[in-house]
């Protein structure tokens, strides 16, 4: 569920998603994790947008422009082609200022304009609404809907290697959930549905690459029960079920259903660390593909997910994250993708209006049914600077190194970008 975060905005990430069990402002809860404030979530009123009051809502308009140099626009293992791309994003966020309940809306349009590789030019859009109805105490029900068009970077190996135009997909997704909190117990339930429709591409000979095989719908249901051992710690058990239905199962993705059962804990130790971690078991059953004459497959094994923030000082936050789960995309011929990832990120507040960040991430993808596995490392560094509450700029560098068990798919990609943002 999307929630407004008034923090130093960056030209390409101007909103953040809050935990779906966030409580209304001012409420007390045994599950609140607000004893520590991370660098990126710390409020700086002198550098925050004021918004435009419209009745009981505040509207936040944002305009961001970035110049990015990508030295390997097609993520090729050899013969890399680089180019400049100008990313322009116009966005508006609206949030209610009621004492109870919450209604938010958002909309954005992003254009990517390449200087030389103009066939890669795309336009993305996103529009959505989220709502939360507060009930007794910290119990609530919430729902949200979103419609958008997204560009898939070539660094994602689901994009055909012979494409010369950018891959895009249309996504319509919705969610509905509820939270019940009774003293030390909290129960959460949630249902998500998403529909992915991929747009066709062109290859170097202007032939159409049909991407309908990737079209699919995903349904997921989650339930979680938590017990607050203390105001700073809680233990929980969670169960989730999912189903994926492909329009053309077998060529790139197969119909499947599965579940994940985990136990975990969340904690918030003042001036030390906070986080949540869960471990358990996952199983995903992929249907047989009569068209390809492939038998049913099962992917199973340990499941884990966690995010821990360590606060060595109040000016520095170190974030560790790890996960192992079934991905929403896959490559040609595979039933699905089992992804394992982990990483560490460091954020440091040099000045109130200058934040420096760096990160190292690792991803490993196992493609079910074809025996292929890819590994990727990414290294990033960025700085965000706000001149005042309206103007800011950023500078970033990212390097991606991908190694595949299939030949000819390794690549290295470096991107450097400089951007400016205006907000009100």
């Amino acid at each position: 569920m999307r929630t407004m975060r008034n923090r130093l905005p960056t030209p390409d990430t101007l909103a953040s998603n809050a935990d779906e069990t966030s409580v209304r402002e001012g409420a007390s809860s045994a599950f609140m994790r607000d004893r520590n404030v991370s660098v990126t979530e710390r409020h700086h009123p002198e550098y925050q947008a004021l918004g435009v009051p419209v009745g009981a809502f505040l509207i936040y308009p944002i305009l961001a422009e970035s110049a990015i140099y990508d030295d390997n626009a097609f993520a090729k293992s050899s013969g890399a082609i680089g180019d400049w791309v100008f990313q322009t994003k116009a966005e508006a966020q609206a949030a209610s200022n009621w004492s109870r309940n919450l209604l938010e809306g958002f909309g954005s349009v992003t254009t990517y304009d390449y200087v030389t590789l103009t066939k890669l030019d795309t336009t993305d859009y996103q529009v959505g609404v989220d709502g939360r109805y507060d009930m007794v105490g910290n119990s609530n029900i919430y729902s949200g809907m979103e419609d958008g068009r997204y560009t898939v970077p070539f660094a994602n190996l689901s994009v055909p290697r012979n494409a010369v135009t950018a891959e895009q997909y249309d996504l319509v997704q919705g969610d509905v959930g509820a939270v019940q909190e009774l003293n030390r117990l909290r129960f959460s339930e949630r249902f998500d549905a998403a529909d992915y429709q991929y747009r066709n591409l062109l290859d170097g000979l202007n032939h159409v690459i049909i991407e309908e095989a990737q079209n699919h719908s995903t349904y997921a249901a989650q339930a979680k029960a938590e017990y607050a051992v203390s105001p700073a710690t809680a233990v929980f058990g969670a169960f989730s079920w999912n189903e994926r239905d492909y329009q053309d199962p077998g060529s790139q993705g197969s119909n499947s259903s599965g579940y994940e059962l985990t136990v975990g804990a969340s904690f918030d130790i003042t001036h030390v660390a906070r986080g949540e971690a869960q471990v358990g078991y996952l199983q995903q059953n992929f249907n047989a593909s009569p068209a390809n004459k492939t038998p049913a497959k099962t992917a199973n094994g340990p499941a884990f997910r966690g995010k821990i923030e360590w606060f060595p000082t109040q000016l520095t936050t170190v974030t560790l994250h790890a996960s192992r789960e079934i991905e929403d995309w896959t490559v040609t011929g595979a039933f699905g993708t089992l992804g394992s990832s982990g990483g560490v990120r460091l954020d440091h507040e040099i000045l109130r209006n200058l934040i420096l960040s760096c990160n190292v991430d690792f991803n490993q993808y196992q493609y079910i049914g074809i025996g292929r596995a890819d590994k990727s490392w990414s290294f990033g560094a960025r700085g965000n600077y706000m001149f005042n509450r309206n103007w800011g700029m950023s500078l970033s560098y990212i390097r991606i190194e991908q190694v595949s068990s299939y030949g000819g798919l390794d690549f290295q990609d470096d991107k450097i970008s400089i951007g400016a943002v205006f907000q009100y």
Binding site: L315, I350, L351
Partner: protein, 199 residues
């Protein structure tokens, strides 16, 4: 019976002077309160002697002379305007020195044996700014330390450098950097700046 009485009287006569000799002015046995004061002085650090300055509000009492007593403010020129004797220098003097100065002035042609007492009623305020929650001007209190002053300003911000402090005294042109400890003291009229840290 008479012999016993005579012996006891003789003993009293002899012991009394001997006891007094043991407690002669050259070797007095200290009283309990004096012992405690001596121990406290030995264990405490240097005694901070406050010196008067412009803005201090004084209460001056001349015993038996109500018209010469009252509350007076040290002016910007460092003097105190007192009845009968006029302007008396105060800036830079300790309260004891000021008392003596006023007594001498009164004795010079006005009073035979003036008994003067003075105390500071309101000290000059101190100023604190920088990385504290509530910068501003606050009233000085005796033996105020920088840590006390920060607490008065509702504590450090999360960006405060808690190891150093910049202090400018009233009679100085610029601030100087000092290590911030529990014994770093504040004087009335000081401007204290808590610097920002970057790591």
């Amino acid at each position: 019976m008479f012999k016993c009485f005579l012996t006891a009287a003789l003993a009293l006569v002899l012991v009394g002077p001997l006891g007094a000799a043991a407690q002669s002015p050259s070797n007095p046995a200290p009283s309990r309160s004096a012992q405690a004061a001596a121990a406290e002085a030995a264990s405490s650090g240097p005694i901070f002697e406050y010196r008067l300055g412009p803005g201090d509000k004084l209460r001056v009492i001349v015993f038996g002379e109500e018209t010469l007593s009252g509350e007076f403010v040290v002016s910007a020129s460092g003097k105190v305007e007192l009845p009968l004797i006029g302007a008396v220098d105060a800036a830079g003097l300790t309260i004891t020195q000021f008392q003596s100065s006023v007594g001498k002035a009164l004795k010079d042609g006005y009073l035979k044996d003036p008994r003067v007492s003075a105390e500071v009623e309101n000290y000059r305020p101190f100023f604190i700014l920088g990385e504290v929650q509530k910068p501003g001007q606050y009233p000085y209190a005796v033996s105020l330390s920088v840590m006390n002053a920060v607490a008065t300003a509702q504590g450090f911000t999360y960006r405060a450098d808690t190891r150093h402090v910049f202090i400018k005294h009233l009679n100085e042109l610029g601030e100087h950097k000092a290590t911030l400890t529990a014994a770093t003291m504040v004087q009335p009229g000081d401007t204290i700046r808590i610097p920002e840290r970057f790591f």
